[in-house]
Every structure is written in structure tokens, then in C-alpha cells.
């Protein structure tokens, strides 16, 4: 059998241009500064920008790789024989994007041809864009100061996921999918492993030159059960925490063990009675609460939204700038951080796409809104003198703008456990995993489903219920927070596909938390 060791280096070593990428992004032992060839390309870009009278310029040269492996088990139409359907893909992308400020306006251009000539041509295009826009620019841009860095950074990892043989990965997902399907009542199952790398070089006219490697590792196993007579179909998913890490994280996912659990739970979900709607206490697990934090707090504390930059698409925010430092969002227990340094967080990195070093800062302290997420061209608009390092673009062909850092909720007191939360509930629901989600354009009114729901009666967890969603208002909800489990329960879930901006871009972000209890939330019964 062919050795499938298509390592990251071998992969990016293909082709002439790709051979260039291999050289550019190679990581020789002990190197602390970027590859000299990258620095040469960066310097060429900045020289051209200066020649064309740009007051600021930066370039990002990026190589992505994404490996996606999945196996689905389902009955064949007509025979009922179980088929194993695989998808194996492994692709990449390599290109650059340049930003300039000319006559006080931004210009941006991008191309997949990484040569000095094309970089110079695209600097010219970006300058043309900026000049055209300057005609309707009313105020010149202002950038917060940033220190100069010349460095390398990479996601801490022990095992390059792309160096692990495909056979090992396929064996794992085939085993996990088969474990789910061992339960006769399961109609179909599937399991996924996915790995993404982002080799990125950044150079700016400030003088910074930064080379980084960001690595992401994902997995998932899913079960679907169908009752044809009753016309009901339910699923149950195990979504391990999605992380920035190497392959060393995969064994920690325990995909097979969790496959055994969800095959039982999907049948219980299929047969679970519908919830009785009404005001109930909620105990929300980290696998669920991350998304509520993301939508209600993560997005509402983005400065670009609060100022109106997103008004035409994602929306604005109920947290207008006059409320910074004073508005009570939640109960005293609520302490929320913006943090691009947290271990394994999806938004964790060394430096942002403005060249600002990753930071950690308080967003909510004891329930009071304290700080926004900011980038260099917006900090001064709220009287701040430095960026909080939240600039990101999802592709070399995308314009960097303000994106969410990891936004996480501090755990409760040591020793507070999940049972303490449940025992204090007379009539409530425990929710695990995320489901449907929707929130208005100012982040007031939201509705969340979940992946699995258990009734809590008289302080005890009961059997599963189905068709659950809760609706609330952000400040009402967070002010009803009355207990959080301790640090040993703190976990970090997230998503790689947070959408924002026009043209729309995605962002990877994590939201750590411990299980938490919310009082008297409006629970509805869905279809």
C-alpha cells in the first residue's frame, strides 16, 4: 500500500509556484524571523506603495491547506444494505492581498499570482481603488499606533496533522461511524475529521514583518433516526471542542466512545415527549452555551457594529458607545473576556491582520459592559489609543476588518459542580449541544434550540424531552444568570464559520464557559 504521508511540506512542495510556497513557509529549526524571500516580496510591495504615495500599506501572503475526510453509513435504496460512503479531499490555495491608504481612504487588491511583478501591479490597483474612493471620503482614516515586530509564531502543536497517514484517520472515522450504526434503530451515521493550516506572512509600512502558522483540528460524529410511521426524524451529534492544535488533539476527542453514547441518545431523542412550554429554569452545558455567548455578547460588543459599519448587513448593536462602562448587561456573576491568547482557542494567534500582538481584555466585569473589540482604524473613535488586536481576513483575497476574538465566560467558584446547578431547579431543562439559532440585528431578541434536552424536576435530571427552543432578550437572559459551575467544568466550544461583512467573510472563534444556570426563561415548543 502506498504510504499516504502527504505531509504539509510535501503537499505545498508540488508545482513551481508551490515550490516557491514551500521555500517561503518552511520552518527551519530555531528560526525566529520570517523567511528572507517573504521579506523580499514584502519589501517590494511596500516600496511600490511608497512610490505611489500611500501613507500606509501592508501585504499578506498566505497559503492555506484543508484536508477533509468523512464517512457516511446509510441503507441502500431498495435493498436496505448498509453502504459506506467516503469523501476524501485535500486542497490548497496560495495568494496575496495588499492594503493601502491613499488620500485618507482604504484601497485593497488581491491576486493568486505571487510574483514581484504581480504584487507591484496589485499595489497599483489598490491605489487606484483608494484614489477613486477618496472622492467620497469625508474624514481621513486614522490608525492607532502599533509597535514594530519582526518575528515568527505558530500554533503550539506536537503532531503535524497533515503528516499523519490518511489510513489512520480513515480507520478512526470508519470505526466511529460503524459504532453509531450498531444500534438497529439508527437510520444513518457519519463521522468527519478535518484539518486546516494557514501559513501567513504579514509586512506593513510600520516596519513589521511577521510569519505565522495557524493550525485547526475538527471532528464530528452524527446519528440520525427516523420513525416513518409517525413521520419524525431526529439527530444527535457529538461535536468535540474545535481547536487550534495538531493531531495530538484527535485522541482526546474520544470519537468512538462518544459514538457509542449518541447512538443510544438519538433513539431516546426520537421517542422523547415534546416539552411543555412556559417559563423554566435552564441549565446550559458549555457545548450549548458557547453559541448563546457568541451571538448575544460576542457580536454585540464589536465596535464596528456599535458604530454602524455593519448596519447594512449583520446589523448594529444595542450596546451603543454611550453605554460603555455603565450598562448592566448581566448579573454580578457575569465576567466575560475577549482573548486571542487562550490555549487552543480558534481565534488564538500571535498577531492580528493589522500586525497587532494578540491581547486579552475584559468585555463584561461583574455584569457591567466595559470594553469593545477594536482594530487600528477604529480605536480612536471611542477615545482609545491602541487596538485590541481583533483584525482578521478569512482569505488572502478578503479585506481585513474587525472580527471576534475568543470571548469567554469566567467559571464560577471552585467546588461548584453541575449537580449543584441541577439540584436548585424545580422545573427546568438541561441543554447539551447547539441547534437552531437566530438573533436580531441589534442583538436583543434571540431564539436557540439545542442538540439534546433533558427535563429537570424537583432538583433531579429526568428523561429526554424534544422540540425545545428558548426565546429571550439578551439583558433579561444574562441578568437571570444565578450560578456557574467551577473551573474544572470550563470547556471551550466554537465554530469555524461565523459570518460578517460584505462581501461576507467567515471567522473561527471559541467561547469557553462552565455549565451555567438561568432562571425563568421562556421555553417554546417547536414543530
Amino acid at each position: 500500500m502506498l504510504n499516504s504521508g502527504l505531509t504539509r511540506r510535501a503537499f505545498i512542495g508540488s508545482g513551481a509556484a508551490a515550490a516557491l510556497a514551500t521555500r517561503l513557509f518552511a520552518a527551519p529549526d530555531g528560526a525566529t524571523t520570517p523567511n528572507p524571500e517573504l521579506e523580499k516580496l514584502g519589501a517590494a510591495a511596500l516600496r511600490e506603495a511608497t512610490k505611489l504615495k500611500a501613507s500606509y500599506a501592508d501585504i499578506r501572503i498566505i497559503r492555506y491547506r484543508q484536508q477533509f475526510l468523512t464517512v457516511r453509513l446509510n441503507p441502500e435504496r431498495g435493498t436496505g444494505k448498509i453502504l459506506e460512503v467516503p469523501v476524501v479531499s485535500d486542497g490548497g490555495s496560495f495568494g496575496f492581498g495588499v492594503r493601502v491608504i491613499v488620500d485618507g481612504a482604504w484601497g485593497f487588491a488581491a491576486s493568486p499570482l505571487v510574483t514581484q511583478e504581480e504584487i507591484a501591479r496589485m499595489i497599483g490597483e489598490a491605489v487606484a481603488v483608494a484614489r477613486a474612493n477618496a472622492a467620497i471620503r469625508s474624514k481621513p482614516l486614522e490608525l492607532a499606533p502599533v509597535p514594530v515586530y519582526r518575528t515568527r509564531w505558530q500554533t503550539p502543536h506536537e503532531r503535524d496533522p497533515f503528516a499523519v497517514p490518511l489510513e489512520e484517520k480513515l480507520d478512526l472515522i470508519r470505526t466511529a461511524a460503524a459504532e453509531v450504526k450498531k444500534e438497529k434503530g439508527v437510520f444513518s451515521s457519519n463521522c468527519i475529521l478535518s484539518f486546516r493550516s494557514e501559513d501567513k506572512y504579514f509586512a506593513s509600512s510600520v516596519g513589521s514583518s511577521i510569519q505565522q502558522l495557524n493550525l485547526q483540528t475538527y471532528g464530528m460524529v452524527n446519528a440520525t433516526a427516523t420513525d416513518f410511521k409517525r413521520g419524525i426524524s431526529k439527530s444527535r451529534r457529538y461535536q468535540p471542542q474545535q481547536v487550534t492544535a495538531g493531531y495530538e488533539y484527535v485522541p482526546l476527542m474520544n470519537l468512538v466512545e462518544n459514538a457509542q453514547r449518541i447512538r443510544t441518545e438519538v433513539i431516546e431523542h426520537l421517542n422523547a415527549p415534546p416539552v411543555t412550554p412556559g417559563k423554566k429554569d435552564l441549565v446550559l452545558m458549555p457545548s450549548h452555551l458557547w453559541l448563546t455567548i457568541h451571538e448575544s455578547i460576542g457580536h454585540s460588543t464589536e465596535l464596528d457594529r456599535a458604530l454602524g459599519y455593519e448596519a447594512n448587513f449583520a446589523g448594529t448593536s444595542f450596546l451603543t458607545t454611550d453605554k460603555m462602562g455603565s450598562l448592566r448587561v448581566g448579573s454580578d456573576l457575569m465576567n466575560i473576556w475577549g482573548d486571542r491568547t487562550t490555549d487552543r482557542g480558534l481565534a488564538t494567534t500571535g498577531y492580528d491582520d493589522d500586525g497587532v500582538k494578540a491581547t486579552k481584555f475584559p468585555i463584561i466585569e461583574k455584569g457591567i459592559f466595559k470594553h469593545y473589540q477594536t482594530i487600528r482604524d477604529q480605536a480612536h473613535l471611542i477615545g482609545e489609543h491602541e487596538s485590541r488586536g481583533c483584525c482578521y481576513a478569512d482569505n488572502w483575497a478578503s479585506v481585513p476588518f474587525q472580527r471576534m476574538p475568543n470571548v469567554w465566560l469566567e467559571p464560577g467558584k471552585s467546588g461548584t459542580n453541575l449537580e449543584d446547578l441541577i439540584s436548585g431547579v424545580e422545573d427546568g431543562i438541561l441543554i447539551d449541544g447547539d441547534g437552531s439559532f437566530s438573533i436580531d440585528q441589534q442583538r436583543y431578541n434571540f431564539q436557540f434550540g439545542g442538540d439534546a434536552f433533558w427535563e429537570i424536576k424537583h432538583g433531579k435530571k429526568q428523561g429526554m424531552v424534544s422540540r425545545v427552543a428558548y426565546q429571550s432578550r439578551t439583558t433579561d437572559f444574562w441578568q437571570s444568570l444565578d450560578q456557574i459551575a467551577g473551573p474544572s467544568y470550563w470547556q471551550q466550544w466554537g465554530a469555524p464559520n461565523d459570518g460578517k461583512g460584505e462581501p461576507e467573510q467567515i471567522n473561527s472563534v471559541s467561547h469557553g464557559c462552565s455549565p451555567a444556570r438561568f432562571r425563568q426563561v421562556n421555553v417554546i415548543q417547536t414543530d
Binding site: 508545482g15 453502504l83 479531499s89 485593497f108 490597483e125 426524524s233 455593519e310
Partner: protein, 453 residues
């Protein structure tokens, strides 16, 4: 962007490196120019060039896929080799379909050179019209103007080859008052950039914003609603995903019949409901393929790449066709169908004013936002109204109303539709949009109030 000859050359080169019996290729190149504005000022703006080549190699049922955006000989050779290496490791795919034979693609193109060549100078006068309109009314404008052009090719080792070009443009604007207590929105998608009218977009959005002042709080509940065309499109476009024969047969769709089977052939909707896919409608700019699977691209697996063609999904209220990809069609003994996109919901002939005049008490909805599926089986979705809700009393708009959250299936909504206006092309905040009319719907389910503006 790549010409047909350039595409042919790159594909021929890639195929020359193939050592497997099957090799599917899909090649794309695109250019995009865009301007974003907010706070009555331009914010970000760019010009981007992208290209990519997807390769899927198959031997003995084993399939591997890769993607590159470098097209020199070495890169192509290595990419083909990589897809073959992946295939050798992948387990055989029992749902694989045979490669397409040579296809005859329709000789259809709706490519606008004016759109493909437009840069910021062509877009700025329209943005200026919006910003000037905002300032004249003491409002604050935000919005987005984008034009895109693409060329694409599909090919395989069996000699199939197709090439197509498409262009599109769109301008949208949100006008808010300085206090942030009122908001209006308008949008115009168009294949021909010269038909986009910034002043008209501004007028509609400004008018909405000025009228939607101090909205009243109404109780949530079931209301007769008039959905403006964008609001109709926001919800009906989601039905495309619900038309899959496989999901229906496997009990996962609103078209699943209790006990087994599908609702094909059954009359589920009023007589006047007809939903079609029409890639040749001049309001769209489509590539000449789109049938047979996946999302219309040629690469393996889904078995796509069949010629584009119009198809009717719901005809006079009857479920006429379901979506069959090539694999499921072969299993079911059916012909594969185009994917349900480029949707057109046929309408009646009434103007929006006439529809309003026919409603005694109801709500006029400008558009919806953050729509997500709650139950895929019933297609129940949740979301919110946005940028203008108005009470209708005795055939007239009587008062602005606060936004609502809804929980509603577009399937039930179409069943409860009582009248329709003239269809136009629309694109809301999410999804690709469609060609949709305004419509009057009974018993639309609003479940809570939103404070959002």
C-alpha cells in the same frame, strides 16, 4: 479571467497527466470589484482576482479530490497525482456514478461586458446619490455595491467539455436616523450594472426610514401579512433545499409521506402557486450546466455537470418534480434533474398597492433576517422582520410597528397564500435570492417582539 481557449488548454494539460480511467475537472476564474460604505462615508473597497481548479480522480470506485489555484505544468501534474494518491487510499464509494459522456450544453449566455468591466468610478455616483439623499434627510447611510464576473469550465476524461461566463451586480443600502430609532432598506440585484439606479434605491430606503418612526408595540400572534417581494424571496428560496427526493424518501422532508413514499403528484398548495427553476431567465446570469447533483459543478461525487434546463417544481399547487441527483435517479429509475436554484415563484398581476387595498387588517413586511431552520422535517424556520413593518387597516397603511420574531414554515406559508403581486428579482440579506412576487398570507405566526431597529 480565462478565455475558452485558455481554459481548454489548462484542462487538456491537466488531463494529460491523468493515469486513472476517470478524471473530472472544474475550473473557475473570477474578478470582483466592490465598495462598502457606512456613516455616510466609504469604508472598505477592493478589486480581487481569483482562480481555482478542482480535480477528482476515480479508479475502481475509489475517489480522491483536490483543489489548486496555480496552473503551471508542475502544479497541475502534482495536483492530478495527489488526487490519484488520495483515491488509492480512500475506500471505494458505492454511491459513485459513472463519468458523464460528452454533453450538449445549451448555447446560452447572459454575460454583460459592462458589468465585467466596471470599476469604482462606475459605482461611486450611485453611492454618492445615496449618501447625498441621506444627508438631505438628516439620515445615516450604509450599504454595499459589488459587481462580479466569472468564467468556468467543466470537463472529464471521457471528452466532455463545457465553458460558460456569468456576471452579476448588486447595490443595497440601509438608511437610519441619527438616533438609531428608525431604519429603511432597499436593494437592487442586476445582471446589467447600468440598470442599477442608486437614486431609486436611496428613495425607497429613505422613504421606509422616514415612515417607520416610533413603531407601535403589537402583541405577537397570527397575522395576515403582506410580504414585499424580498420578504417572499427570503423564505421561499429555502424551499429549494426541501425538494430533494432522497430526503423525502428517507423521511426527512416536508415531502415525506407518513408511512413512507413522497408527496410527488399531490396538490399541497393553492392553484395559483407555481415554483420553477429558470436558469435562462434574463434576470439571471447562469452557467450552461447545473444538473445532476451537488451544486451544479462537475467534480466527482455528486455526479453533477448535466446541462442547465428549466424545470417546474410546483405547478398550479401540485408537487410536480423532486430533485434527483444522478445517483438517486439511477436508483429510483428516474431522470436526474437540475438542482433547485435560479428559482422563480410565479405571481399574479396585482401591484403592492392593490394587495394592500385588499387587506382589512394585517402587517406589511419589508424583509426578514437571520432565518434558520428549526425543524428540517416540517421546514419550520425562525427569524425576524427587519427595516420596516407597518400595520394595514381597512386597506391602508396606518402605523409603523415594532419588529417581530416568527416561527413559520414556508411550506405552510405557501399553503396559506391568498394573493400575489408581480414577481421581480430580489436578494435579501442572506442567500442568493430569487425572482419573487409580493404576496398576501393568512395566519403568519409571530411569536415574540424584538426591540431591534
Amino acid at each position: 479571467m480565462l478565455t475558452k481557449e485558455q481554459a481548454q488548454k489548462i484542462i487538456a494539460k491537466a488531463l494529460s497527466f491523468s493515469t486513472f480511467p476517470e478524471c473530472d475537472i472544474s475550473l473557475n476564474s473570477s474578478e470582483r470589484a466592490f465598495i462598502r460604505f457606512a456613516l455616510n462615508d466609504v469604508t472598505t473597497s477592493g478589486f480581487t482576482v481569483e482562480q481555482s481548479l478542482s480535480i477528482s480522480s476515480v479508479r475502481d470506485g475509489q475517489s480522491g479530490s483536490t483543489r489548486v489555484d496555480e496552473f503551471d505544468d508542475d502544479a497541475l501534474r502534482e495536483a492530478v497525482k495527489r488526487s490519484e494518491q488520495l483515491a488509492m487510499i480512500a475506500p471505494p464509494n458505492p454511491e459513485r456514478v459513472p463519468p458523464l459522456e460528452k454533453q450538449k450544453y445549451p448555447d446560452f449566455e447572459n454575460y454583460a461586458a459592462s458589468t465585467a468591466g466596471a470599476r469604482n468610478q462606475a459605482m461611486i455616483p450611485h453611492i454618492r446619490a445615496i449618501i447625498d439623499g441621506a444627508k438631505a434627510n438628516k439620515l445615516v447611510a450604509a450599504g454595499f455595491f459589488e459587481r462580479s464576473a466569472e468564467t468556468a469550465a467543466v470537463a472529464n476524461k471521457q471528452g466532455n467539455f463545457g465553458y460558460g461566463r456569468a456576471t452579476d451586480a448588486g447595490l443595497s443600502a440601509t438608511l437610519r436616523n441619527a438616533a438609531g430609532t428608525s431604519s429603511g432598506w432597499a436593494s437592487q440585484p442586476a445582471v446589467l450594472i447600468e440598470t442599477i439606479d442608486g437614486a431609486a434605491v436611496a428613495k425607497t430606503a429613505i422613504d421606509k426610514c422616514l415612515r417607520w418612526k416610533e413603531p407601535r408595540r403589537l402583541d405577537p400572534g397570527k397575522y395576515t401579512v403582506i410580504l414585499e417581494p424580498t420578504a417572499t424571496g427570503d423564505l421561499v428560496q429555502m424551499m429549494g433545499f426541501g425538494m430533494q427526493a432522497r430526503a423525502a424518501e428517507e423521511g426527512r422532508s416536508f415531502l415525506s409521506k407518513p408511512g413512507g413514499g413522497t408527496m410527488a403528484g399531490e396538490k399541497l398548495f393553492p392553484e395559483f402557486v407555481t415554483l420553477r427553476s429558470d436558469p435562462f431567465n434574463r434576470l439571471y446570469s447562469s452557467l450552461p450546466w447545473g444538473g445532476g447533483g451537488g451544486f451544479g459543478f462537475g467534480g466527482g461525487g455528486g455526479g453533477g455537470g448535466l446541462p442547465a434546463e428549466p424545470i417546474t417544481w410546483i405547478e398550479n399547487g401540485v408537487v410536480k418534480n423532486l430533485f434527483y441527483d444522478r445517483y438517486w435517479a439511477a436508483k429510483a429509475g428516474k431522470q436526474p434533474t437540475p438542482f433547485p436554484n435560479r428559482l422563480v415563484l410565479e405571481g399574479g398581476g396585482k401591484s403592492l398597492d392593490q394587495l394592500i387595498a385588499g387587506v382589512d387588517r394585517g402587517l406589511l413586511v419589508t424583509r426578514f433576517w437571520y432565518i434558520r431552520v428549526v425543524n428540517p422535517r416540517s421546514m419550520q424556520v425562525t427569524g425576524l422582520t427587519r427595516d420596516g413593518v407597518f400595520l394595514i387597516e381597512q386597506g391602508k397603511l396606518s402605523a409603523p410597528v415594532m419588529n417581530f420574531r416568527f416561527n413559520q414554515s414556508p411550506v405552510e406559508m405557501l399553503k396559506n397564500t391568498v394573493a400575489m403581486g408581480t414577481p421581480i428579482r430580489v436578494r435579501g440579506g442572506e442567500g442568493q435570492g430569487m425572482i419573487a412576487p409580493a404576496m398576501v398570507v393568512k395566519d403568519f405566526s409571530f411569536t415574540s417582539i424584538s426591540d431591534a431597529v
